[in-house]
C-alpha cells in the first residue's frame, strides 16, 4: 500500500500554476525524499496533502483514504507534520508546548516524555521555547510531529537553519524512524546531498512539475561514467585515439573517453607514450548526483 498517492494534483495562484498535475506515490515504510529548488512547489504540495491549502485540481489519498474536507481531521490523526519553520509558543516551556499538542490530538500524556527523550530535549523541557536555539526549536517541532507516533510523518525542510552538527543529529533521528517506529517519512529539501543520505525513494519537482520519481538507486544509475585524459597535446592524442577507433571528445583541457577496461586503458597509455605524448592525468569521472539534479531541475529549466 502507498502512504500517499496524488493524482493530477494542481494549485494555481493568480494565473500561475505553482503545482502542475503532480502524481506522487509514497510507498509505505520508506523515507521519501521530496527534492526541488526553492520555490519549486514543495511546501505547497505538502500543505495540500495536509489539507492546509485547497488544491485547484486533482485528488489526494493519504493512508489509503481519500483526503476530503469531511474526513480530513480523522485522516490527520495518523499523520504528524512539521511544515517550513517549527510551530511553537515562545512564552511557554517545551513541555507545555507539547502538552497543547497532546491535548489537541488526544494522545496519552506519557508520550510527551517519550518524544522529549527521542529528540533529546528531556533536560530542556522546563525552559521557555523563546530561549531555545533554532536547532532545539526544530527538534521540538519534530517532537510535536512525533507525539501521536503517527503512521506517516511529513517534514518540510527540517534541517533549515541548522548548523552541521544539528543537521547530522536531525538526519540520524529521521533515519531511525521507519525501523524503530514503522513510520513512513516524507522529507522535503532543496539539498540533494541531504536526501542522498536519508531517503530510499526520491521525487524531484521543478516549477511545480514532477521530473523524477523512483528509488534513489535508480537516480544513482543515471550517473554516466567516463574517463578523463589530459596529455601534453590533446589534439594529437585525439587524432591517434580516433585512428584506433576509441571514441573521444574534448572537454576543457581534457579528452573524455568512454569507460574502458584495465587492458584497454593500458593500451591507450602505451599508444600515447609510444608517440611521445606526455600523460599528465587519467582519471575516472562520474556525473555526480548534483549534476543529475541540476540537469533535472536547473538546466532543463533554462532550455
Amino acid at each position: 500500500m502507498n502512504s500517499i498517492e496524488t493524482h493530477g494534483l494542481s494549485k494555481q495562484y493568480g494565473g500561475a500554476l505553482r503545482v502542475n498535475h503532480l502524481d506522487l506515490c509514497v510507498p509505505e515504510g520508506c523515507i521519501y525524499g521530496f527534492l526541488g529548488p526553492n520555490g519549486a512547489g514543495k511546501s505547497t504540495t505538502l500543505k495540500m496533502i495536509l489539507g492546509l491549502v485547497r488544491p485547484t485540481q486533482g485528488s489526494i489519498e493519504v493512508l489509503g483514504q481519500p483526503m476530503e474536507h469531511a474526513n480530513r481531521l480523522a485522516v490527520l490523526r495518523q499523520v504528524g507534520s512539521l511544515i517550513e519553520s517549527p510551530s511553537y509558543y515562545g512564552h511557554l516551556t517545551g513541555e507545555e508546548n507539547l502538552r497543547i499538542v497532546q491535548t489537541l490530538r488526544g494522545v496519552p500524556e506519557k508520550n510527551i516524555h517519550e518524544v522529549l527523550q527521542i529528540v533529546r530535549l528531556d533536560n530542556q523541557q522546563s525552559k521557555r521555547v523563546a530561549h531555545y536555539s533554532l536547532g532545539m526549536k526544530q527538534r521540538l517541532g519534530l517532537a510535536a510531529a512525533l507525539l501521536g507516533f503517527p503512521k506517516l510523518l511529513i517534514l518540510d525542510e527540517p534541517t533549515n537553519g541548522l548548523d552541521p552538527a544539528g543537521i547530522q543529529e536531525m538526519r540520524e533521528l529521521i533515519c531511525e524512524l521507519p525501523t524503530r517506529f514503522g513510520m513512513t517519512v516524507v522529507v522535503s529539501s532543496h539539498l540533494l546531498s541531504e536526501i542522498d543520505q536519508m531517503a530510499d525513494q526520491v521525487g524531484i519537482i521543478r516549477e511545480g512539475e514532477l521530473v523524477f520519481q523512483d528509488t534513489l538507486t535508480r537516480l544513482h544509475d543515471r550517473s554516466q561514467h567516463h574517463l578523463a585524459l589530459r596529455t601534453s597535446n590533446n589534439t594529437v592524442a585525439q587524432a591517434l585515439l580516433t585512428q584506433q577507433q576509441v571514441e573521444c571528445c574534448v572537454e576543457g583541457d581534457c579528452l573524455l573517453l568512454p569507460p574502458l577496461c584495465d587492458t584497454a586503458a593500458a593500451d591507450v597509455i602505451r599508444l600515447l607514450s609510444e608517440n611521445r605524448l606526455g600523460i599528465f592525468r587519467l582519471e575516472e569521472r562520474k556525473k555526480s548526483l548534483e549534476d543529475i539534479f541540476l540537469e533535472l531541475t536547473g538546466k532543463a529549466a533554462s532550455l
Binding site: L50, L52, L76, S87, Y88, Y89, H91, V101, L104
Partner: protein
C-alpha cells in the same frame, strides 16, 4: 470545550490578568477623581452618578481593552506560526470559536469583578438608597455585550494581520471615537460601533445652567439599540470568521 481550555492554557504568562487589573485600576482612579469634585448635593445621587460615569469610562477604556485582549490571544499564533500545526488537529472555524469564547469569558470575568467592586464602593462611600441591583446587572450585561461586539471586530483584525499594530491602532481609534461619540446625536451614534457604551447607558443627565446643578435619572433599557448592537456583532462575526476560515496557512 477542549479548545477553549487550551486557549486559557496558551494565555499563561501573557499577563492577561495584569491587563484586566490595569483597566480596573484606571477606571477606579478616574472615578475617584470625579467623586472628589462632586458637591454634597450630587453625591446624594451616588448610584446614578456612578453608573453614568462608568458608562463614559467604558466608552473610553474598553475599546482599547478589547483590542489588547484580542491581540494577546491572537498574536501568539502569528509569532509562533502555530496555525499550520493547529489546523491539522482542528478546523479553522473551531479555532475561531475557541478564541471568541475565551474573549467573551475574559470580558465577562472582568466586568463581573467590576460590578462587584461597584457595589463595594457604593456601600463603602454610603451612597443613599438601596443598591440598584437590577440596573447594575443590566449595566454590566450591556458593557459586556458592547465589548464583545468590539472584541469580534478586534479578533477579526488580530487574526487577519500578523502585525498587531493594525488591531491596536483600531483600538486606540475606537477609544477616541467612543469618547467623541458621546457628543454626537443619537441617530449618528447608531452608525458608530464604539458609541454603543453611551447609547446603552442606563442613566441620563440634566445640567441646569442657572443653578449649575446636575441631576441624574434612570433610563429604560434601550431595546432598539440593543438589537442594533446584535446586528453589528453579527456583521463583525460573519466577516471576521469568513476571512479567517478562508485564509490558507
Amino acid at each position: 470545550m477542549k479548545l477553549l481550555r487550551l486557549e486559557f492554557y496558551k494565555c499563561r504568562r501573557r499577563k492577561v490578568a495584569l491587563v484586566c487589573a490595569a483597566v480596573l485600576a484606571a477606571q477606579l482612579f478616574w472615578f475617584w477623581v470625579v467623586l472628589s469634585r462632586q458637591s454634597e448635593e450630587e453625591m446624594r445621587q451616588g448610584w446614578l452618578l456612578m453608573l453614568y460615569n462608568f458608562a463614559v469610562l467604558d466608552a473610553i477604556v474598553l475599546p482599547l481593552t478589547t483590542a489588547v485582549l484580542a491581540s494577546r490571544s491572537c498574536e501568539i499564533e502569528h509569532k509562533g506560526c502555530t496555525l499550520k500545526l493547529l489546523e491539522t488537529a482542528a478546523t479553522p472555524a473551531q479555532l475561531y470559536r475557541a478564541k471568541l469564547f475565551w474573549g467573551a469569558l475574559t470580558l465577562a470575568g472582568l466586568l463581573l469583578l467590576r460590578g462587584i467592586l461597584l457595589v463595594g464602593i457604593g456601600k463603602t462611600l454610603g451612597f443613599p438608597g438601596a443598591v440598584p441591583l437590577e440596573q447594575l446587572i443590566w449595566f454590566s450585561v450591556f458593557s459586556w455585550a458592547v465589548s464583545l461586539m468590539l472584541y469580534l471586530l478586534q479578533q477579526g483584525l488580530s487574526l487577519r494581520y500578523a502585525n498587531q499594530a493594525v488591531a491596536l491602532v483600531c483600538g486606540i481609534f475606537g477609544s477616541f471615537t467612543g469618547l467623541m461619540s458621546l457628543l454626537m446625536p443619537t441617530q449618528l451614534q447608531r452608525f458608530v460601533p464604539w458609541s454603543y457604551y453611551g447609547l446603552l447607558s442606563l442613566v441620563g443627565m440634566d445640567w441646569d445652567e442657572a443653578t449649575h446643578v446636575t441631576s441624574f435619572y434612570w433610563l429604560d433599557p434601550p431595546i432598539t439599540d440593543f438589537t442594533l448592537l446584535a446586528l453589528w456583532a453579527l456583521l463583525f462575526f460573519v466577516i471576521g470568521r469568513t476571512l479567517f476560515v478562508r485564509k490558507e496557512v
